[in-house]
Amino acid sequence: MNFAKMMNGLPLALALVFSAVSVHAQNVKIAYIDPLSGGGASVGEHGLKHLQFLVDAINAKGGVINGQKMEAVAYDNKGSPQESLVQVQKAIDAGVRFITQGNGSGAAIAISEFISKYNDRNPGKEVLYFNYSAVDPALTNEKCSYWHFRWDANSDIKMAALTDFMKSRKEIKKVYIIGQDYSFGQAVRVAAVAMLKQKRPDIQVVGDELHPLLKITDFAPYVAKIKASGADSVISGNWGNDISLLLKAAADSGLQANWYTYYAGGSGGPTAIKQTGLDHRVFQISEWHTNVPAPAMEAMTDAFLKKYGGEAAQGWWYMRMKNQMDMFVEALNKAKSSDPKKVAAVLSDMKFKNILGADTFMRPSDHSFFQDMYISSFGSGTKHDEEKTGWGWKTTTVIKGQDTVIPTSCKMNVPS
């Protein structure tokens, strides 16, 4: 091809490029910034499938506002706060105005602070941050931001519910607390110690351990320590590989203890629990599990399992992301605009009946979302199972959304 011919083709090529850009400009883009490599990759990838599934469903139903399509874009933050900021900037540069992240409160705090500053400096180009899962209480207290919305109950709420539940279980004598060494793990440990002391002063805390975040591949030394402490119960807020490998090591060494966890049901967790043989002795606090009766949700989880379950049959896990995206769509439609500032104004005090048919609401004073919470145990005899183990989650206690409300110290800077 000679030069002249090449130049002849150029306008066409340019036209194609620009038309592609203008088509994309109408899409409402949401950037997914979570670990897609490293120790958090298993949960990060799984979360991305959730988002992709929801976005596909939204588009299949005709999109948002007046037929605009939604588009999910993934960025790998490698689980690190610093890398998250690089990726947020990349997303913003690519024209994204809505960001979602959930795995890791360290990254969440960094992103929230970054976006607050960015929005102060760039009025008219605001960016919103949807936090579907990072639960450090600081995010909706001293470090709260108008631009940050959280769809999961914060760590203190979860620990309050878990310790209320533990209060009535007389067999608990010695508790071991193990967590990840960063803001969230520290928050869990502080809350656990304080609440147990208040509710069950007779319980002895025999271990209070923090380990490096998502770096450990062999928890055998930690399990040996738990065993030596004589603990009958373990409390852990661990997520990702840190909970599945911890449970795996416990299974290998035959540790017989009850587990009170936040995220034992995350990918790989159910398989590991089945190996431990602890039938209905691993508890989890969450906003939902597969055996919560709700036909619409069950149909959706079945569809997800078919499409994305893969060989390991890893099913739906982030109910919080479903709530988040449903409310996002409703806010977009109500605001009749994809301007983040208008969307934020609608979301800020939204009341919402979710797919489970339950009443939920966003609290305007700190942008925390309140919903029913479930304490469930993992074991045999359930309708739906997880990861082909034959075991599933069974509800032990339900805590109503309004009963989970705790005060906030947030002094929100509401933009005029």
Binding site: A41, H211, P221, K227, S253, G254, A312
Partner: protein, 316 residues
């Protein structure tokens, strides 16, 4: 307490022996060619992934033999066509070459097997607990890892001290020119040592893959600690590497079990330190929390006080 000591010892020995499998090749290569092979842990990772891939078709056991052979072959080729070519330009070029290679291998692994850990399973034959002591069970696969590592160490030791090949290798370690003058093919010896070193790393990968996690980050997380083993043990010393590897394995495992902080030690002396004292969290951090740094502390101390390492012949 006794239970904790016994199981920490077992876990520490196991980790130490794994480190040794990796470090043995690295220390020989390092002392013979003067090259710090940054890609050594990458061969360990390749071993795990090859083993995984082979296990999908023909099960775990063939992988135990095939993967190290394959990776050893790749290692030999890397030496023959990569390192030897770069060698002309000096040690820095060689160092950078292995550095780049490590990144390339990691990227390749991510492209082929993805960024998420692969599901490398313990073979059914060994999927039971070997013994129960004080109600703690010990998995049979871990016993197998322990035994394999010990056998390899003994085999290597015999090879190096009792055979002609070992004699030539040991001679080439210290006097490569003299060995060349005597009519031995020194480049071939280098290539074989490099290949065997990589093969041993791969073997470690195959036996560690199912028990630990087979993921793209496994090389980067183990790499730095290998250099500690090599330096602490002393260059080119197999026995040194063995002792250093066990030492580090045990120290790291036992450190996890110790919950003492600086504040606790000073408390009986009447000095109370809290999070609010100057230095803050430094005083409250327990030995368990700083466990990952302890090997590097050891590295620094050895370099200052005994640069040739525990059993080395020459200065690092």
């Amino acid at each position: 307490m006794l239970e904790l000591i016994i199981f920490s010892t077992l876990n520490g020995l196991l980790y130490g022996l794994l480190l040794f499998l990796l470090a043995s090749g690295l220390t020989l290569i390092f002392s013979m060619m003067g090259v710090l092979n940054f890609a050594h842990a990458s061969f360990y990772m390749l071993g795990a992934y090859f083993g995984f891939q082979i296990s999908l078709y023909v099960g775990y056991w063939p992988g135990l033999i095939l993967a190290p052979l394959l990776v050893g072959g790749i290692g030999a080729l890397v030496e023959r066509y990569g390192l030897r070519t770069v060698h002309k330009h000096g040690h820095v070029a060689e160092l950078l070459f292995t550095f780049g290679l490590a990144f390339m291998i990691e990227e390749l692994v991510q492209m082929v097997w993805g960024k998420v850990p692969v599901d490398y399973r313990v073979p059914d034959l060994l999927n039971f607990s070997a013994f129960t002591l004080f109600s703690t069970t010990y998995p049979a696969f871990r016993m197998f890892m322990l035994i394999t590592s010990v056998v390899v160490f003994l085999g290597l030791l015999l090879l190096l001290t009792k055979t002609r090949v070992g004699l030539i290798i040991r001679a080439a370690l210290t006097h490569p020119n003299m060995v060349g003058m005597l009519g031995h093919n020194v480049p071939l010896v280098f290539m074989m040592v490099f290949g065997v070193g990589c093969g041993l790393a791969a073997l470690a990968g195959v036996i560690a893959g199912p028990a630990l996690v087979t993921q793209p980050a496994m090389a980067a997380s183990l790499g730095p600690i290998l250099f500690v083993v090599v330096v602490v043990g002393g260059l080119g010393s197999l026995q040194g590497a063995f002792i250093a590897a066990l030492l580090i394995g045990l120290v790291q495992t036992f450190a996890v079990a110790i919950n003492v902080s600086v504040a606790d030690i000073l408390a009986p002396l009447g000095i109370t330190l809290t999070r609010d004292s100057m230095g803050g969290d430094l005083w409250m951090a327990t030995v368990a929390q700083v466990a990952p740094i302890i090997p590097y502390l050891l590295l620094v101390l050895v370099l200052i006080f005994r640069p040739k390492g525990l059993m080395g012949y020459r200065e690092t």
